[in-house]
Subunit: 244 residues, 2 copies
DNA sequence: ACCTGAACACCGTTCAAGT
DNA sequence: ACCTGAACACCGTTCAAGT
């Protein structure tokens, strides 16, 4: 679990860089404890409740004490996300016969894992996972797509595109928070259908006539999510024998 | 531009609903002025600088005064986003011969428009555009895909999927903020390639060997973005003659 | 009816002072 | 060397009091 063997992470230059700020010495144990506390708070009360102060209170200290082990709230989030990515179990050995299905399996697992942690996906989105666990996943994806016989550049771009899609969906879905009941969501979709259906047909003829399908896909099921996976895999598969 | 002719928007129930809060009477002119000020601040200093206080200062009042015209900061953001969506010019009449290219054109335009407004995409992501301008775009997309002969449910899901992809990319790209120079980005990608290349090959063999392609796609050009568009369109096109 | 100063209940982060 | 109380410079939103 230690990142000590990995080379230092590449970063965009930050403003503080100039005035020679040294990263504080940190004890591995405490970093993990802080990350665990942070995740517990997210799981219990959601991302908005995650505050340097709430984490500190959870651990019986003041917020300032955390900065001895963690450089910023952003670094703390990175820690929490890396840990959650670690929960993702990869499907089995890459199988040339089933590479598409295996990629879908991974996507479904990622979605499941994030759904266990409230709206953490919101913080995870748009972060390149360069830690151990993220790399493990990327390495596996490459292996699977190589088994599928895809060209290198297609594989490389797809390694961005798949997680982008999955985490974007997770982000969206996390907005129907834990406090929003299934009925509330159903009613919201119902309301949206009625809204679309009652729009002026001269101005939005297609939206009006497609009100039903636009608001279909029960959010209990996975129709929308599976549709996106299908599209991505068919699209990528179509690039199997092609220079790009 | 007025939404007065549209039916009321469907919403998820909010906590305040219970205690019977009335939406304040608002003067259309001031709402627009506030939205214009907000957009000006975003354009000049970025989304983080957009604050009820900065908007108020910009207009020569206190923050509290804004609440006579706008229910919350979130509503203000919605206003700003609707206005920016209005900047998106739709490609011409749907053409059955060119429907795929036309959809790509729209995607490129959306990306261009958002790139004009700093990191506003961050706020726009995961919002369903139910206003005039968003509906206009959705109606057009449906028309184009109908010209392409796609099944209704495929069209409906694709109306979610395309904007999801485009805004997700915009979100990501907005993280390389205006203050990050092209060289900084190039160096970051360089650093990432070296990072991948210097990982332990026994643990991450595929990442190591694919370090080049993984970090390819100059961010000046649009390779990555175009790859995603290609995948989406090939995938959706593959569903043309299929029950779903 | 509209506007607003002041306040409330928060933030992330810093830093001098303690142990 | 590590920890922390207090402070700094902010937030979104409310509300009593003004006009």
């Amino acid at each position: 679990m230690t990142a000590s063997e990995l080379p230092p992470l590449p970063r965009l230059p930050s403003r503080e860089e100039a005035r020679g700020r040294r990263p504080a010495r940190k004890r591995a144990l405490s970093r993990e404890a802080i990350a665990a506390a942070a995740l517990a708070i997210v799981d219990r009360e959601g991302l908005d409740a995650l505050t340097m102060r709430t984490v500190a209170r959870y651990m019986g200290t003041g917020a300032a004490s955390l900065y001895a082990h963690v450089a910023s709230k952003d670094e703390l989030l990175e820690l929490v996300i890396e840990q959650v990515i670690g929960e993702i179990e990869l499907p089995g050995e890459p199988d040339p016969e089933r590479w598409q299905e295996q990629l879908k399996e991974l996507a479904r697992t990622i979605r499941t894992v994030f759904s266990r942690h409230r709206d953490l996906a919101r913080a995870s989105f748009a972060r390149i996972p360069l830690g151990e666990n993220g790399l493990r996943g990327t390495d596996w994806m490459i292996a699977v797509m190589r088994a599928g016989g895809l060209p290198d550049q297609v594989i490389a771009y797809a390694c961005d595109l798949f997680p982008l899609y999955v985490t974007a969906v997770c982000y969206e879905e996390s907005l129907y928070g834990a406090e929003t009941s299934t009925e509330d969501i159903a009613q919201f979709f119902d309301g949206m259908r009625h809204y679309f259906a009652s729009l002026p047909p001269d101005r939005f003829p297609n939206v009006v006539s497609l009100a039903g399908p636009l608001t279909a896909g029960d959010f209990e099921g996975d129709d929308r999510f599976e549709f996106g996976l299908d599209v991505l895999l068919r699209g990528v598969a179509a690039m199997a024998n092609q220079a790009r």
